[in-house]
Amino acid sequence: MLPTRYGLLFVVILTAMLAGSINYNNNLGFLLVFLLGGMAVISMLHTHRNMVGLKVLAISARPVFAGETAVFDLVVDSETVYRHALVFNLGKSGKTVEDTEPGTQTRIPVKTPALHRGILKAGPLKVSTSYPLGLFYSWSTITPELSCLVYPKPIFSRLRAEQNTGSEAEQEQGANSFHGVEDFTGLKTYQAGDPVRHISWKTYSRGQGLFTKEFAGYAGKTAIFDYDSTKGRDAETKLSHLCGQILSAAAANLEYGLRLGKTYIEPGRSHEHKHQCLKALALFGKNSGKNE
């Protein structure tokens, strides 16, 4: 509990007022000075009360991509007091001002920028308040154990099969891209190995050449994204490309796996699987194994 700079200014003002009252021997002036002084002191108790007993029950953060803003969700138990204007400060940035109501758990999002991939340690969390009069400042700092996972910043490039194709069958087909079967998207010149039933016989019969019907939709296909065969200037760019590919694959409901150096993640398509892959990317090369 310390006075704020306004608190100090207030003391200066009160001193001036007191000097005036003494000078004029003005009882009413004394009365006001003592009233204001008393209020300042009482406000200290109120400030204290606004803080004391506050519990931070849980902190959680859902993973974000590098360059986004990480949101740490604090769950705060206000106990029996209505708390006004609590300021939640995470690290140097990310300030949130919230009221909390008695008897409920308030969820408070505290934002902080996630600049780099990896694990963003939630810096010291400072909860402070200068309610009600702004003359005193009460704070408490906790260092939450939780951290936020930061995936690499995705770079979206065209999903290409050079990465690696998954199953044997796929490789046999020699597909260059992910051929779907659902939506007809156009024709392309026939290449050896294209499925016979996709050959556009209509165009062939017109003597226009041999074309293959192309379909979009990747369902049922499997891709393995491999770090070593991903293009990119440096490791970070590669990871970003991989990240983008995973996201695209997930969006297309494609089954995909990931090979990242020694780590190999079996193909899958669930949400958890996506998270697992992205997590592997996020932690790649960063005290690996320790935090997983």
Binding site: L57, A58, R62, V75, Q105, S270, H271, E272
Partner: protein, 305 residues
């Protein structure tokens, strides 16, 4: 440790090999006065567990194999016209027993399911305007095959809530499996099992479980967990107050099985995944959360000192 229970656990473990934890959880559920849902593959020993449990505790046992053409009356009972007397006679269904094994409950139509679940919840059956009280103790063990979806009616989340616990039995361990293959724990062992208790004792224990002390600190811990589920991203919807009560009840029963008259955070941790597993859905895709992951999530909640 409570010797009485250790004996029960030992008896049952002789039949259901290598599944001591599941046996304990099943007993906990029974003594907490709740109902049990076992979700596992066929041939894992669900039925055996139910049978041996009933037998060991000296309780009456009935088994109903649920099918899609089953009607509520097939479980609750029917009134049949007696031509000799000219009156309708009520023929009790299999529900009037102490331990009911509802096999493959998800095969029955929702109507039949809810008839059973309502009876479970209320402990009575109202049939043609007449209310009939069910046995006491009354313990339902329902089983579900999680992999078979064709032609089933999975229990909705709201109905799942009526089961205090849901457990998976899982494959036996290597040594246990060997013993099974060697013929141990067979039908023979089941027949050899002697009753260690009777229904009065079970009721008595159920009453004693109610008296297990839950201190403020313990309740704080439960609250902390509940609030965590309500606010965390991991879960689609948080736990209801009923789920909170269920946690408390199960933890108390577990504590009692440990021979204590007060509940510790450890008790809660032991039963927690079984109690909340079927009540929570993942916040990402609303699927069920694997037990292991659930435990990992809950391990982040610190125990209040």
């Amino acid at each position: 440790m409570n010797e009485e229970f250790e004996e029960v656990v030992r008896q049952i473990s002789r039949v259901v090999l290598g599944k001591e934890q599941q046996v304990r959880l099943a007993l906990t559920c029974l003594f907490a006065g709740g109902h049990l849902l076992i979700e596992d593959l066929p041939g894992i020993g669900k039925t055996t567990l139910a049978k041996v449990l009933a037998k060991c505790l000296g309780l009456e046992f009935q088994r109903v194999q649920f099918t899609s053409d089953m009607l509520p009356g097939d479980i609750l009972g029917v009134s049949i016209f007696d031509q000799n007397t000219g009156l309708f006679n009520f023929h009790q269904g299999p529900i009037f027993t102490q331990v009911l094994l509802a096999d493959e409950i998800n095969r029955a139509t929702p109507k039949t399911q809810s008839a059973l679940l309502e009876a479970m919840e209320e402990g009575q059956v109202t049939f043609e305007g007449k209310t009939r009280i069910l046995e006491n103790p009354f313990f339902v063990i329902a089983t579900q095959n999680p992999l078979e979806y064709a032609g089933t009616f999975p229990l909705p989340e709201s109905q799942l809530d009526r089961f205090l616990m849901r457990i998976e039995i899982g494959y036996p361990g290597r040594s246990a499996e060997k013993r099974i293959l060697q013929g141990e724990g067979s039908q023979h062992a089941l027949e050899k099992t002697a009753a260690c208790m009777n229904d009065t004792r079970v009721c008595e224990i159920q009453e004693n479980v109610e008296k297990v002390r839950t201190s403020d600190t313990f309740i704080d811990y439960i609250q902390k967990i509940i609030y965590f589920t309500r606010t965390s991203e991991h879960f689609h919807v948080g736990l209801s107050p009923r789920a909170g009560l269920a946690i408390s009840q199960a933890a108390r029963a577990w504590a009692y099985l440990q021979g204590r008259d007060y509940a510790l955070p450890e008790d809660l941790q032991q039963v927690l995944p079984s109690v909340v597993g079927h009540r929570l859905r993942s916040g990402h895709d609303r699927t069920e959360i694997p037990r292991k992951q659930l435990m990992e999530i809950f391990s982040r909640i610190s125990v209040p000192l």
